[in-house]
């Protein structure tokens, strides 16, 4: 897994997410200057619930693709792909996501994303909470391009 990364790739983005109250589960609230950034932040927020992200080094990069028929399902499948990346080979825990293709209009929406991180290792990465599934429950996506602001809210089942 000895891959070479540029300095830019190794630079982590600022933290633009928080965890909100929900009785049984947790609600992720992520934001950014664009919808793309809010999506990236939302993915990181999910990984941040699984471990302490400052223990994660960037040693590996995987590329994922997610499709959706509307914006909600696009976000749903994007997060589901990320969860899948963590749950089995390569067991990747990510501290940085870079969306390289973001098509959020029309019938067939698509995201391609580079996921930077390393294999989850007991002993190195503190065990946080396990994410069972992504849900549509109270999912909200608010995009205000004129104000350069986007917010997403997702409840993950834990």
């Amino acid at each position: 897994m000895a891959e070479e990364f540029t300095k830019e790739e190794l630079t982590l983005p600022p933290c633009k997410y928080e965890y909100l109250d929900h009785t049984a589960d947790v609600q992720l609230h992520a934001w950014g200057d664009s919808l793309k950034e809010a999506f990236e932040q939302c993915g990181i927020a999910m990984f941040g619930y699984m471990t302490e992200l400052d223990t994660v080094e960037i040693k590996h990069c995987s590329e994922i693709e997610a499709n959706g028929h509307d914006i909600e399902s696009l976000l749903f499948h994007f997060l589901d792909e990320l969860l899948f990346l963590f749950s089995c080979e390569p067991f990747l825990i990510c501290s940085k996501l870079t969306i390289t293709e973001f098509k959020a209009e029309g019938e067939e929406m698509r995201i391609k994303c580079k996921c930077y991180g390393e294999e989850f290792t007991l002993g190195k990465h503190p065990q946080g909470t396990e994410v069972k599934a992504i849900t549509y429950s109270a999912m909200q996506i608010v995009n205000k391009p004129e104000q350069s602001r986007a917010d997403v809210f997702v409840i993950i089942d834990i």
């Binding site: 965890y19 909100l20 109250d21 929900h22 009785t23 049984a24 589960d25 947790v26 609600q27 699984m50 471990t51 589901d80 899948f84 963590f86 749950s87 089995c88 080979e89 067991f91 825990i93 989850f120 007991l122 990465h125 503190p126 065990q127 946080g128 909470t129 396990e130 994410v131 069972k132 599934a133 992504i134 849900t135 549509y136 429950s137 109270a138 909200q140 809210f153 409840i155 089942d157 834990i158």
Partner: protein, 506 residues
């Protein structure tokens, strides 16, 4: 959601007994049947507070209260009897957690809903007994807790240690505990004391996505995180000596092991896949529901049947999972006491699932009917003489295992005839959350929680420190309130109370 003031909402609710409330039609649109929920005065307050909060003006980013969710389920096509809320009910995904609903299989409109089962398919509780007593275990309690923690993989990112390849997984999905038996992980009599004998016959692994199998393979034989646990418990109280005797529990102080876990990433992915499929089926068949989360499909549609077959495979996965951890627990005890698990009498008392949908025969309005019973956060509780419970429990009624939370008591109940009539043979499943996870993290202190557990004489091994606050007893409803309500309402009967002395958690 209908927008009304809290006072107006209350007009649709009627207290019919000190333990039971009725939800009248009209509380939510299109209700086919009425709703009902069982609470005592303490739990009633929590339930109504949830509703009052949801009625506050200007609520955004909020979620539906449990009582509204029960009513939305009552609006699903093909539902019979009532939509039932058990005493531990709280808001969940689509269905409330602690919600049961039965659908007439012979009505072509009837539906099956993955939300009525939950993401953790066949999450359940297993109880093992031993012939040890508290004084035998106390001197080695720390070592034993550590040994259990070392044997059972726990927490996020842990991998199973039972050797498995893709072919083994296929067989395990199809065979359930018959696979565990064939591979030598369990005893033949374990199967007897398990719902469905640890194998759902309609399981079809070919209906399960590759994705679910990939997620499942590394996680087989792992406990998981969240509210899952393995506990060493001692008998604290015996309410029904005769029934306890039938379960091999003789006296106070006897040591038991309780395992609470489910189908792990496998079941979560099966549920996720089904929800995606069903969204399409709903559009095609024009199925209208009050809530997008109540994604469902007709029982007899392709999607409905595929879900039931893959859900059964996930149920089998969960039984194999709990069986693998039974094996590991027996090993841990055997090593500590240098005795064979056989000689320690480590038999399975019973194994219940509290997230599942099953086809069962029930009497509705005096006539026998075949129903698809959804139990989400609800445990089957069949009465004495029911044909589906093992011969050992024919006279006592099915043992019902109610897991508490870290540091609180757990209970064994038995099923009753009254429960069979009122709730389709269903009862509560555990404590049920009262505080949100984030609120628990803010309000509780890690060291305080640990000190309190130590004071109570409970050893704890936990993989994630954050979880200690989230899962602290203060975050949950009082399990004793929940169980007493079930007992008082007559839907199940108290038999044994267990107190933890060591907890292993993710």
């Amino acid at each position: 959601m209908v927008v009304r003031q809290y006072q107006q909402e209350l007009e649709y609710l009627e207290k019919t007994s000190p333990y039971c409330w009725r939800i009248k039609k009209g509380f939510q649109p299109n209700m086919n049947v009425e709703g009902v929920f069982y609470v005592n005065s303490t739990l009633e307050k929590l339930m109504l507070d949830e509703l009052r909060n949801a009625c506050r003006p200007g609520m955004i980013g909020g979620f539906l209260p449990g009582v509204k969710q029960i009513a939305n389920v009552a609006a699903l096509p093909g539902i019979v009897g009532k939509s039932v809320g058990l005493p531990d009910v709280h808001s969940g995904y689509g269905f409330a957690i602690g919600n049961m609903a039965a659908f007439d299989v012979n009505n072509p409109e009837s539906i099956v809903s993955p939300g009525g089962v939950g993401f953790d398919i066949n999450c359940g509780v297993r109880l093992l007994r031993t012939n040890l007593f508290e004084q035998d275990v106390l001197p080695v309690k720390e070592q034993l807790a550590q040994s259990l923690f070392d044997h059972i993989p726990v927490g996020v990112g842990s991998k199973g240690i039972i050797p498995m390849n893709a072919k083994d997984l296929e067989e395990a999905l199809e065979m359930g505990m018959d696979w565990s038996l064939r591979e030598g992980y369990i005893w033949a009599e374990d199967k007897e004391h398990c719902e469905e004998y640890g194998r759902m016959l309609n399981a079809d692994p070919s209906k399960v996505s590759m994705r679910a199998k990939k997620r499942g393979l590394p996680q087989l034989g792992t406990l998981g995180a969240g509210n899952h646990y393995a506990e060493i418990q001692v008998v604290d109280e015996i309410y029904d000596k005769w029934a306890a005797c039938k379960m091999g529990i003789e006296e106070k102080g006897q040591v038991c092991v309780m395992i609470h876990s489910g189908s792990r990433g496998f079941g979560h992915q099966v549920a996720t896949d089904a929800l995606v499929q069903m969204e399409k089926a709903m559009k095609r068949d024009n199925i209208e529901t009050n809530d997008r989360q109540l994604a469902c499909a007709r029982i007899n549609s392709v999607e409905g049947q595929d879900y039931l077959k893959s859900m059964a495979a996930a149920a089998n996965f969960a039984w194999v999972n709990r069986s693998s951890m039974t094996f590991l627990s027996r090993q841990a005890f055997a090593k500590q006491f240098r005795m064979a698990p056989d000689d320690l009498d480590m038999h399975v008392i019973y194994d219940v699932s509290h997230n599942i949908a099953k086809v069962e025969e029930h009497i509705v309005d005096g006539k026998p009917k075949t129903l698809l019973v959804h139990r989400k956060g609800s445990t089957r509780a069949f009465p004495p003489h029911h044909p589906l419970i093992p011969v050992d429990y024919q006279l006592t009624g099915q043992p019902v295992l109610i897991g508490g939370t870290m540091g609180t008591c757990s209970y064994v109940l038995t099923g009753t005839e009254h429960g069979m009539l009122e709730t389709f043979g269903s009862t509560c499943h555990g404590a049920g959350r009262a505080l949100s996870r984030a609120k628990s993290r803010r309000n509780l202190d890690y060291t305080d929680v640990l000190r309190k557990l130590e004071y109570m004489g409970i050893s704890i091994r936990v993989a994630s420190p954050k979880l200690v606050m989230e899962e602290a007893p203060e975050s949950y409803k009082n399990v004793t309130d929940v169980v007493n309500t079930c007992h008082a309402a007559g839907i199940s009967k108290k038999c044994i109370k267990l107190r933890p002395i060591a907890v292993i958690k993710g």
